[in-house]
Amino acid sequence: MIQSGVVELKEILSLEHVSFTYASEDVQESRKALEDISFTIREGEWIAIVGHNGSGKSTLAKLIIGLLFPNEGTIRVFLEELGEENLWNIRSRMGIVFQNPDNQFVGSTVQDDVAFALENNGVPFEKMVPRVHAALAQVKMESFLDHEPHHLSGGQKQRVAIAGALALEPELLILDEATSMLDPQGRDEVIRVVEELKRQTGLTVLSITHDLEEVLLADRVIVMNQGKVLAIGSPAQIFERGDELEAIGLDLPFSMKLSDSLQKEGIELNGNHMSEEELVNELWTSYFNK
């Protein structure tokens, strides 16, 4: 987090008053998909964007990677205004992992797949090998070099997709609902890998999700609702507005829901409990451990 008085870190991404409307034949039906969005992401920050289906978060992702361009406002990526001329250059500096693990494989083995984008970018073979191995090690898939991607589990596939993005040594990693199609084990695997990356590298990450457990890992959270930014803040600040989050269709972490239900049963507790550990500990110290 940026504190006042501290030198500000380099800006990675910034949106200023961005609006977007999908063109529609029916004028009455064209609603603004995004309205007046502004925020800035700095180097090393880990940002989660949350919102229900239809809140505008996918449109936002498409604008950031230049698949769509705003009707109003500007988007700056790596300090350059994103436009059709510099799009390819800017995109080559970011890594993107999409939702469906089955739609993003081209290689016949795991290592070929990770090498694909490097080949496309003209990285020489002798540099490619160590980068592929290092990227796969970062997602704990180094023992699967010669496996066929299609025979991996969903969680393993998404980890390989993340390795493919990391091999490009991106300055910004975008996870676009990368865990939403996975089973619970797969989701845990990917979240653990992402946590580890956060600890070990200074990578800037933008994670678009509706999983509020995933949000707990972020430095800052941007909550989207009906095409607008509803709130920006740390996970603790965001979860303080639990009722509002539920009202717009998001789910609170289990420990918070339980803490809420306990209070309805007449059990006194102090404040929010963002993790199960926090809740168990409070119950223990206030009810049993005199």
Partner: protein, 290 residues
């Protein structure tokens, strides 16, 4: 309509060099009117099993009885068509199967294919639009202009249109946001009660299995390994772990709470509301807040 599986085995590409066993010795009884959850790790055979429950696959070994129809490897195609009138499947991402010009025509397609007169199919379509909580004016819209959640409801209406007595749901909430997931699960719960359905839910969510089902069937490595009430099945955390399955969050929290306090709760907490109630009893007995 009871469904009884006896010693069911299935081989993909039987008698070819690519022969692969997907099921072996599966035994299960799904009583008429029950709500059964089928759980199992990716690759456990639950999807192959599901295709046997409405005659899309015939068992290579053993038999499947659906109501009065007995299906074995020798059963002819015509007998299976009859079964399919009574058993509806909502596949994963059912909205991918929408194809008609209007919502009304899409819902009417299935029944008319089974020879139901047009007017009857139309009035059934309108009933279903209401039953699924869709706005009435949606009938004449193109299904492709709807939101993701609405498209899924229309696709579900298409399955309900020929009044199946058994409804099979394959991961019906995949890709939906938390509110959408809850709404769809509550909808199936209501349909189960109001339409006297036999419901079979294939899910990765232990929480949904615990909350909605009255019987749980566990698949592992191509065979049925455990079945019983949710209390029985989710009380066996170690056994489930050996099948690479977890337990519902509420049960996990209950275990942590019991270990820490040494106070067992009255019963297995299948939902977070139930957990809060049981915990409140113990906490109040402990003499309240210290």
């Amino acid at each position: 309509m009871d469904i009884v599986l006896q010693q069911v085995g299935y081989l993909y590409a039987k008698d070819s060099p690519f022969e692969k066993r997907a099921l072996r010795d599966v035994n299960a009884t799904i009583p008429s009117g029950s709500y059964t959850a089928i759980i199992g790790h990716t690759g456990s055979g639950k999807s192959t099993l599901l295709l046997h429950l409405n005659g899309l696959l015939k068992p290579s070994e053993g038999s499947v009885r659906i109501g009065s129809t007995l299906i074995t490897s020798d059963t002819k195609g015509k007998a299976l068509k009859d079964v399919r009138k009574h058993v509806g499947i909502v596949f994963q991402f059912p909205e991918h199967q929408l194809f008609e010009e209007t919502v009304e025509k899409d819902i009417m397609f299935g029944p008319m294919n089974f020879g139901i007169p047009e007017e009857e199919a139309r009035s059934r379509a309108h009933e279903l639009i209401e039953l699924l909580g869709l706005p009435p004016d949606i009938a004449q819209k193109s299904p492709f202009d709807l939101s993701g959640g609405q498209m899924r409801r229309v696709a579900i209406a298409g399955v309900l249109a020929f009044n199946p007595s058994v409804l099979i749901l394959d991961e019906p909430t995949a890709g939906l946001d938390p509110r959408g997931r809850k709404e769809i699960m509550e909808l199936f719960h209501r349909l189960h009660e109001e339409e006297n359905l036999t419901t079979i839910l294939v899910t990765h969510s232990m929480e949904d299995a615990a909350r909605y089902a009255d019987q749980v069937l566990v698949m592992h490595d191509g065979t049925s390994v455990l079945s019983g009430t949710p209390e029985d099945v989710f009380g066996k955390a170690e056994e489930l772990a050996s099948y690479r399955l977890g337990i519902p969050r509420s049960v996990r929290f209950q275990r942590d709470f019991e270990t820490l306090t040494g106070k067992p709760l009255g019963q297995l907490a299948l939902t977070e509301e139930q957990l809060a109630k049981e915990m409140a009893v113990v906490l109040k007995e402990a003499g309240g807040r210290k």
